[in-house]
């Protein structure tokens, strides 16, 4: 469980990026932060040194922890460029275990297993990142984040640089991983469709790290807190009225748009 308690963050330049933010991210659930650019999402995700307030991980105040060791306990997926270009796929995945002192041979062997986990062929192991497609690179990024088997997974617009079809695939894949591994996941996006596709809990931001609404996708869709949220989720636009659709024999709930096209999946197995 991650708790933000009255967090504020003022950058040296004077920008107040986050102002008195409090939230609980439940364990083993995916919480998605969604909001327009500059609303303070990344700042919150990186909140290792807040200006004011406390961040607790499983009740422990992180301000007392060594930031380097803390980062090694947390899986972090960045945008496509986050892989180390001079290291092979398998060595990229093995980065954090190697930093933690796992012998090279063991770390590489585990890395191969992780390729399976994220749905990549093992034959890609000896390639360099620039020999992979954007979607494959992103899967490697996820594998790297999972390599030290962290309890917490942070993802900052990880699928922002891939095309919509691959993006949808990756979202489905992430949902599968989330079901299988049950990480406490904090996912940042500016795409409300992506948020609804992935989240157990959605947090919609105004600028300045101010929460507009927190809730499950169903709650937010059913009851937008105000006009801002309604506009943001597109519920007020006639061209896309989202609704939920249950399928027989499937625990997942489908979100379907006004034209009957699936827009995402809600909470399978929950």
């Amino acid at each position: 469980m991650i708790e933000f308690q009255n967090i504020s963050k003022r950058f040296p330049g004077g920008t107040l990026a986050v102002d008195d933010f409090s939230l609980v991210l439940p364990s083993h659930k995916a919480t998605v932060f969604v909001g327009s650019s500059g609303s303070g999402k990344t700042t919150l995700l990186r909140m290792i040194d807040p200006t004011a307030g406390r961040v607790l991980i499983d009740g422990e105040d992180i301000s007392g922890l060594n930031p380097v060791l803390l980062r090694r306990r947390i899986g972090y997926v960045l945008q496509a460029t986050g892989l180390l270009p001079h290291r092979r796929v398998v060595d990229n995945i093995a980065t954090v275990p190697r930093l933690n002192g796992v012998p090279k041979r063991v770390a590489r062997r585990d890395a191969l297993t992780l390729l399976d986990t994220v749905g990549l062929d093992r034959s890609l192991a000896e390639r360099y990142p620039d020999q992979l497609s954007g979607g494959q690179q992103q899967r490697v990024g996820v594998a790297r984040a999972l390599a030290s088997d962290p309890d917490i997974l942070l993802m900052d617009e990880p699928f922002g640089a891939v095309d919509p079809i691959v993006r949808a695939e990756l979202q489905v894949e992430l949902n599968r991983l989330q079901r299988e591994l049950g990480k406490t996941t904090m996912f940042v996006t500016h795409d409300i469709d992506e948020a609804f596709a992935i989240a157990d809990q959605v947090v919609i931001f105004r600028t300045g790290g101010v929460i507009a609404q927190v809730g499950t996708p169903a709650e937010i869709l059913a009851n937008p807190a105000d006009d801002f949220v309604a506009t943001f989720i597109g519920a007020d636009r006639g061209k896309r009225t989202l609704h939920l659709q249950h399928r027989e024999g499937d625990s997942a709930t489908l979100i379907v748009d006004g034209d009957g096209r699936p827009a995402g999946i809600l909470g399978a197995d929950r």
Partner: protein, 259 residues
């Protein structure tokens, strides 16, 4: 043309290579000395300039100060510096060693700016998102430097060393002005005796030495250029424009001063 033929014949004359021959012979001893001065001064310069350059490139701190300072060092006339050092050093160390110490100091000062520029420009040029990724994975600052920044900028770093080695090889010739050995002593003895073969032959030796060493460095740069290396492109222009005074790396800080 006849000059050159004579000089080459002189270079190939076995008599000039007989051990124990009268100064400035045998030639191989002078080549050895020349390389010794070069290696000693570049190693000393690198052990000062590389850590400093890595620090500046990694932290971005002290940049303006060092750019200004190395600019000043570049502007120093090496010959004048050598003479001044010879006088100053001569006051404290015995005459026989004063020439060596003064020459090495002058060459170290000559070698530092290029190595420093290559090191900090290289480290600075590594994609900040890659560096961030390393940090996010839990690398310490030192691990970010040694596992990401240095490997990815190795071609630029070596380029800086390469530029300084060539400068030192070319400039070590003047060490003979203060009665030190090296290939310069062949040239200056030729000037004294009005012997064109020695002058031209010595000059050819310096040139060939520089070209061979430059080739070795070009190879090293090629071997260390890898995926994602920040130096890959600058490196190509550098090889094409090869000369005794490589310019690519040396001019990087000047470009950046305008920013």
């Amino acid at each position: 043309m006849q000059f050159f033929l004579d000089a080459f014949r002189w270079l190939l004359d076995p008599a000039n290579y007989v051990p124990g021959a009268q100064n400035p012979f045998p030639i191989q001893d002078r080549i050895g000395e020349h390389l010794l001065y070069t290696v000693v001064s570049v190693v000393i310069a690198a052990s000062i300039a590389l850590p400093l350059g890595f620090y500046i490139g990694h932290t971005g701190r002290g940049r303006q100060l060092v750019i200004g300072f190395t600019g000043g060092m570049r502007a120093l006339p090496t010959l004048g510096l050598l003479m001044a050092l010879f006088v100053i050093v001569g006051a404290t160390v015995p005459f026989t060693r004063a020439a060596f110490v003064a020459s090495i100091i002058a060459l170290v000062i000559l070698a530092i700016p290029s190595i420093l520029a290559g090191a900090y420009a290289g480290v600075e040029s590594v994609d900040s998102q890659t560096v961030d990724a390393g940090r996010a994975s839990g690398m310490t600052e030192l691990q970010v430097l040694t596992q990401i920044e240095i490997p990815l900028s190795l071609p630029l770093i070596i380029g800086g060393v390469r530029a300084s080695v060539l400068q030192v090889i070319a400039t070590a010739v003047i060490a003979s002005y203060i009665s030190l050995g090296g290939l310069g002593s062949i040239i200056s003895s030729g000037i004294g005796l009005n012997d064109n073969n020695r002058i031209l032959g010595g000059a050819i030796l310096v040139t060939v030495l520089a070209l061979v060493v430059d080739g070795i460095f070009a190879l090293a740069q090629r071997l260390t250029r890898r995926r994602g290396s920040s130096g890959s492109r600058a490196q190509k222009t550098h090889v094409r424009g090869r000369s005794l005074r490589p310019v690519t790396v040396a001019e990087t800080p000047a470009d950046e001063r305008n920013n």
